[in-house]
Amino acid sequence: MKKILALALALIMLLSVAALVHADEGVTITYMASQDWVQDAEMELAEKFTEKTGIKVDFQIIPSDQYTTLLMSKLNAGECADLFGSQAGQFDIVTQLNVEKNAVDLSGEAWASTVDPLAASETSVNGKLYGQPAQDVSAVWAVAYNKKVFEKLNLSVPTNYEEFKAVCEAIKADGMTPIYEAVSDGWHHQLWFCEMGVAIEHAEPGTAEKLNNNTMKFADSAAAKQLIEQIKEMADLGYWGDNYMANAYADAAKAIAEGECAMTVANQGFPTELNAAYPEFAAEDIGFFVMPLCDNQVLNMNPVGPTRFIYSGSDKIDAAKQYLAFLAEPENIQYQIEKVPKFNTLPFTTAKDAYSPEISAFYAAYPDHGTVYQTCVKYVNPQWMEIGKELVAVILGDQSAEDMLKNIDRNRADQAAAAQDPAWN
């Protein structure tokens, strides 16, 4: 009797498993991305895509402070999602992502020729396009400020570090936290350093090239040291408030809208994003100026942003390609620009931009442009999160600016040696 019962149970189990396998007839593609990289508009488009093709998209959103390590672990273990998001960059997609091995060549896709040439060059290797830009890369990370606070305190846009400190002091004296900074996410606070590569380049021309040729190290740069010291000074003087270590960037709009803070480092989608969440706060009330550390007045451009890649080991490559083709359709690109407050455009030739006069005026105010170091210097972006930790260690007084720069150099050398970069070997 027992044997018959056991046999019957085993049969039921087998049938259940078979039924489950059989029930899942539709194709589902998985898409792994960092927090904030997949917008609501994309999820809505994914639903339309499912209606149109029957292919479901399963989004796997990972907290930003854990994403890079998790993605690299998955890629290195050979078991990634069908689609994965990653920052692009002509150096990093080779040395870090190894897209020639891990991603699918998308050059043959109909939409490939519509990708903005500058953005395409940052997602291509040997002339082959491997990624599809997912966000607006025209925007720059700059200091977003509440114009009303500046008017009330009779402050003007600072053009150097001393003026910036004076602005912060005035805001602090008025009882507000001058700058909303979010360290807990792990990716935001190092913008003050990496984006200001343009200031290093301006102060010491040719540094990026020398760093790439390994004829100079970060530790040799007086401007880089000054940058770090000024970042620490901002925190020490209380310009970031008391809670910057636990703050999350998702709360930046709230902090500005509720008058808790007067400034934050954001891109040009921030005003509309703020207005969408807090309609009483007009988008025009947010102005921008470049981060004035090291007296910087150069606009920090970065043609690179979160990008979608198809994992080469996926068994649903065709379905994933269909999804990317769907997202790149002109009406869907326009849908994202209209629906995502922080997008003013997308890097496709078919996109129509939605810059406000204020944003256009901000770009026009800084005629000098430079490329940020995480894009134009090798082996910087792969250690983005590490640089964040190094910077925190400096701010907390656990190490000096020199130590931080030496550690960045050491990590770059380790990666270069492992990659058998001729400049290091």
């Binding site: 690299m72 672990s73 290195n76 792990g186 636990a246 925190v392 907390l396 656990d398 990666q415």
Partner: protein
């Protein structure tokens, strides 16, 4: 059961094969890879001798701090879980109202996933809006409100405290079982002889509970040496590098594609666990009157 029955030797082969393939072989292969430059950046693997070990033990890197943190974590959490777990076990083997309810409440945290506990405590310990600081400020203890997870001087203590909170109920349960197996007659005899509560605990409970305490110590030490999830979810090794432990380091190295360094760290930890495990098991078996 017939204790004298001798089973054929080949009965052990299946288990031995699984153990060798799943545990011994990966450890040996890992040991081999720790002498190479295996990484994601290159298809070729070269023998580089002890270079990775030199890197791990070099003052230029942060690995020694990770090792130190791992040992401190193991020592502190093992001691605290055993002491608090024992105190709770003694309390909850007495005649207390709602005894099983109290036991369940103390045991519940260890049922939760470490990641969930981490996420909850990340919120509870938020310096501005967290429940703990809000409570402290509410009762006028503002001076005690701290940056629990974001001050490098106290973050590691906070992580250990959360882990102790989560793990002490489990240890308590094991110790309760140990205490309940002690015959009541010993306590009755002691009370006739005029022994007080402390004397009963010191001379009856503690000695007879020693084998159970050895088991809980072994469990805690092994758990402490391989801790990852609690640290990862609470601080991810931060602020800065203040709470990095060995396995967050291994995870990071694999994430960065530096497989050989990650494997070297794992190998070092395997060796430490082997040595610690050997002496602990030897001690345990000695207590049973057998030889190892």
């Amino acid at each position: 059961m017939n204790k004298n029955r001798i089973y054929p030797t080949y009965f052990v082969f299946g288990a031995l094969l699984l153990y060798v393939v799943l545990f011994v072989l990966p450890s040996v292969v890992g040991l081999g890879y720790s002498f190479t430059d295996w990484s994601v950046y290159s298809q070729e693997i070269h023998f580089i001798g002890l270079k990775n070990f030199a890197t791990v033990f070099s003052a230029d890197y942060n690995y020694l701090r990770m090792l130190e943190n791992t040992f401190v974590f193991t020592l502190v959490t093992t001691l605290a879980k055993n002491v608090i777990g024992l105190a709770l076990a003694v309390l909850l083997t007495r005649k207390v109202k709602l005894l099983n309810f109290h036991r369940a409440v103390m045991y519940l945290p260890c049922v939760l996933s470490a990641l969930i506990v981490g996420m909850i405590f990340k919120s509870v310990l938020n310096p501005k809006i967290g429940m703990l600081n809000t409570f402290l400020r509410g009762v006028g203890l503002d001076f005690l409100a701290s940056n629990w997870l974001t001050d490098s001087k106290i973050a590691f203590r906070s992580v250990m405290a959360v882990d102790i909170w989560k793990g002490m109920g489990y240890i308590m349960t094991i110790l309760i079982a140990g205490i309940m197996s002690i015959p009541q007659t010993y306590y009755e005899a002691a009370s006739i002889d005029g022994g007080n509560t402390w004397q009963c605990f010191r001379h009856i409970t503690l000695p007879l509970l020693a084998p159970t305490l050895t088991v809980t110590t072994v469990l805690n030490v092994i758990y402490g040496l391989k801790v990852f999830d609690t640290v990862y979810s609470l601080t991810n090794g931060g602020p800065g590098f203040a709470t990095e432990v060995l396995y967050t380091g291994v995870y990071k190295e694999f994430g960065l594609g530096r497989y050989a360094v990650g494997t070297t760290l794992s190998t070092i930890m395997t060796l430490v666990m082997l040595i610690v495990g050997y002496f602990m098991i030897k001690h345990m078996v000695k207590g049973d009157g057998q030889e190892i």
